[in-house]
């Protein structure tokens, strides 16, 4: 719920997409994908945040007695972020291993040279 987090995450996503689209070095392309992931993760985790909120440990009576819903931090986005971080790490690892093998085969990691399949 913090505006600056939202703005920062959008900036990260746009920067990442810019990197993927403009950099010819395949490792930089992979880094761009990573930056997009970080931006998305930050967006998700910011969604559940409440300023001054506590851990989501409560009893049903607390809720019924009129404790404000912003009393605790929403735990679901954090679970989503964890999943997303794991997936993002896997994407990076797999992409980098492909880049290593491409380098062995093509002797280059410039995107302009790695284009045997085209047309």
């Amino acid at each position: 719920m913090i505006l600056v987090n939202y703005i920062a995450s959008i900036i990260l996503i746009v920067l990442g997409l810019y990197t993927v689209c403009t950099k010819k070095n395949l490792i930089k392309v992979v880094l761009g994908l990573g930056i997009v992931d970080y931006g998305v993760n930050m967006l998700i985790v910011s969604l559940g945040f409440n300023d001054g909120g506590t851990a989501p440990i409560y009893q049903m009576s607390d809720l019924l007695n009129g404790v404000a819903p912003s009393f605790f931090v929403d735990p679901v986005p954090q679970a989503l972020t964890l999943t997303s971080i794991v997936i993002g790490a896997c994407v990076d690892a797999m992409a980098l291993s492909l880049v290593i093998m491409i380098y062995r085969k093509y002797k280059s990691i410039n995107a302009d040279d790695v284009r045997r399949l085209h047309g």
């Binding site: 996503i13 997409l17 993927v20 689209c21 403009t22 950099k23 010819k24 395949l26 392309v29 992979v30 994908l33 997009v36 992931d37 998305v40 967006l43 998700i44 969604l47 929403d74 679901v76 986005p77 989503l80 999943t83 997303s84 997936i87 896997c90 994407v91 797999m94 992409a95 492909l98 880049v99 093998m101 491409i102 085969k105 093509y106 995107a111 302009d112 790695v114 284009r115 045997r116 399949l117 085209h118 047309g119």
Partner: protein, 636 residues
């Protein structure tokens, strides 16, 4: 009892994936047994759902760990199988089972087969989970598993030319699509505070906010990447070409169907955006462009599998066009074409794999005359080619006819000229499909046999049996289409258009009505393609279109060659290269006239398909931006 079947099928496939890796990495017998056992049980479990879901009209729901909704809020992860989910689940199980049987002998000469079957089972399980889940984040996780397994399988024969490159492109474009989907899901969660698709759908009855419009656009773009509609299609062509053929069949039979399923689910059920004619128009235009660019690129290819890949893209264009119409007729046609595409494209990929297995190449310029050496494969190929080209008794004819009829009816109903143009484009694309399959038939199965292929033999029986099954299904679906319509297509169409049952089953009776969703009665679709007047009108359209194309273009036909132009022997005679008396009429040369007439167009397209991954990423971002802007204009 029966509500456990969907989740059991998915779990079994994932469990099988681990067991193959643990117990079977060194022993072929154990490995094949585990893989086929898991696939067969999943097949049986999903087929057992046909009676309750398709015939009795039930919706099966399952809450993981029994976390049912509390006071109108869905907390747990739910599986929900309605007729639409089951329709795609049936396609998925059929495809991976046949592919599994086929890979037993097709992949037998490869190394590291333990990894192959692990990835195969994970891919199958993830796609099956994707089409049956009722939780949007679970859907994202399944998409990611699907992308990983697909990338690894694309690059599986990594010593071959181009596999690593294709895998890398697939990974970059695919994970960009997943990131868009995830951003959309995050925005939806921020707005609705739930991840259950039924509850999101119910909450969005009250209208769209800018946040949900943004989320909608991003999720549509994400599923566009997964179904490879045109600006996103480039990794598909590469991946289908270099992946092992049993995997190419899985890709075209179920991975891009998962994208189509996601599109239908998002457009019709979660956001219910298809009642807006501008959204319909956007989807239809994307579909029409997809089918046209796909087929024209296919005509220019010199590789059997790459050609099939571009046809795959083109046929998905038909499906997207039809589901974009928003009418019951269109959805029925689109679903039927999706099903038929699974059958005939799977069959064609299997025959391409058989040719590769027998001869060691898929280059159209090096093949020829295989009909005498591989007669059974040839007959299966011809059935597949007739089906995809839409010749009458085969299944492609019925579904393509439904697509023409749906677009034309839409044009008449709305009076919108664009839909009429789309009908004509669909017809022309069908003609071009036939043309390019004439080229393949000539280049691979007819014509002269090259000397180095003299020892070619027919493929083993375990590869022929899946081909026979697929061929039989192609013919049967074409002849007995009313039965297919009654038991598969009509329930799925009804499930697509009616959201209330879907919501009520998950969230409790009356929830949908409370939120303001309403039910729509769907009349069974009438198959009226035997109506002679309709035939006549369409033939007139084709005739006029052909006439305009022939006379309207300022072609160089009949003109004397300009003496200043450099003489190019390749285009001098119809049969290029007459240096040798018995030279093979290369399939690539059959349509040289067409290609020279369209030289400018092909130059542009080949420039666009540059093979540079950053260019493709640029297209993806651009198309997503276009979709987002359009949605904001349309849905405000």
């Amino acid at each position: 009892m029966i509500q456990h079947f969907p989740v059991l099928a998915v779990m079994l496939l994932f469990l099988g994936a681990f067991c193959v890796e643990i117990f079977g990495s060194n022993n072929a017998g154990i490995r094949n047994t585990i893989a086929m056992l898991a696939a067969t049980i999943a097949l049986v479990l999903i087929y057992a759902l046909i009676k309750p879901v398709m015939i009795d009209g039930e919706i099966i729901s399952y809450w993981m760990g029994n976390w049912a909704p509390v006071s109108g809020y869905a907390i747990g992860i739910g599986y929900e199988v309605d007729a639409l989910s089951l329709f795609f689940a049936l396609l998925v199980v059929t495809t991976f089972w046949l592919s599994g049987v086929y890979s037993m002998s097709y992949m037998a000469k490869d190394h590291h087969l333990g990894h192959y079957y692990t990835l195969y089972l994970m891919l199958s399980g993830s796609v099956l989970g994707l089409v049956m889940t009722g939780d949007i984040f679970n859907m994202f996780v399944m998409i990611e598993i699907m992308t990983f397994a697909s990338v690894a399988l694309t690059a599986f024969r990594n010593e071959n030319e181009g596999t690593l490159e294709a895998g890398f492109k697939y990974l970059v474009i695919g994970s960009m699509g997943s990131s868009f989907t995830l951003t959309g899901i995050a925005l939806i969660y921020g707005q609705c505070h739930t991840l259950n698709m039924a509850q999101i759908s119910a909450q969005l009855c009250t209208g769209m906010t800018p946040t949900t419009i943004m989320a909608f656009a991003l999720i549509v773009a994400g599923f566009g990447v997964k179904s490879y509609i045109v600006p996103f299609h480039t990794p598909a062509a590469d991946a289908y070409m270099v992946a092992p053929t049993s995997v190419s069949m899985i890709f075209s039979g179920m991975v891009n169907k998962a994208g189509v399923y996601g599109m239908i689910r998002v457009l019709y059920i979660i956001f219910r955006a298809m009642d807006k004619s501008s959204v319909q128009m956007l989807v239809v235009i994307f579909g029409a462009v997809t089918m046209f660019i796909g087929v024209t690129m296919a005509l220019a290819q010199h590789d059997f599998k790459r050609l099939l890949a571009f046809h795959s893209i083109s046929q998905i264009g038909y499906v997207i066009t039809a589901i974009g119409l928003g009418t019951a007729l269109g959805i029925t046609g689109g679903l039927f074409h999706a099903m038929n595409h699974t059958l005939f494209k799977g069959l064609l990929f299997l025959t391409a794999g058989a040719v590769l297995y027998a001869t060691g190449t898929t280059n159209l310029d090096k093949l020829g005359g295989l009909s005498k050496k591989m007669p059974k494969t040839c007959i299966c190929f011809l059935i597949g080619a007739f089906s995809i080209s839409g010749l009458p008794p085969f299944n492609g004819f019925v579904s393509k006819w439904l697509v023409y009829q749906a677009t034309y009816t839409k044009a008449v109903e709305t009076g919108n000229f664009v839909y009429a143009i789309v009908t004509v484009v669909a017809l022309i694309v069908s003609v071009m499909t036939l043309a390019s399959f004439i080229k393949v038939t000539q280049a691979v199965f007819f014509g002269q046999l090259p000397a180095e292929l003299k020892k070619t033999q027919e493929v083993p029986a375990s590869m022929l049996v899946p081909m026979y099954l697929m061929s039989a299904l192609c013919v049967l679906c074409g002849i007995f289409y009313p039965i297919v319509n009654k038991y598969l297509l009509h329930p799925a169409t009804e499930a697509t258009l009616n959201v209330t049952n879907y919501i009520d089953k998950m969230m409790g009776d009356g929830y949908a009505a409370m939120m303001g969703a309403q039910n729509i009665e769907v009349a069974p679709v009438q198959f009226s393609y035997w109506n002679p007047i309709v035939w006549l009108i369409l033939f007139v359209i084709i005739f006029v279109a052909a006439f305009l194309v022939i006379t309207g273009s300022k072609s160089s036909r009949g003109q004397v060659l300009n003496p200043g132009v450099k003489y190019d022997p390749k285009y001098a005679t119809f049969f290029s290269g007459e240096e040798e008396l018995f030279s093979q009429v290369g399939g690539s040369d059959l349509f040289w006239g067409f290609k020279t007439d369209w030289k400018g167009y092909y130059k542009v397209l080949e420039g666009l398909h540059s093979g540079i991954v950053t260019d493709y990423a640029g297209w993806t971002v651009m198309a997503t931006a276009i979709i987002t802007v359009c949605m904001f204009i349309f849905m405000r």
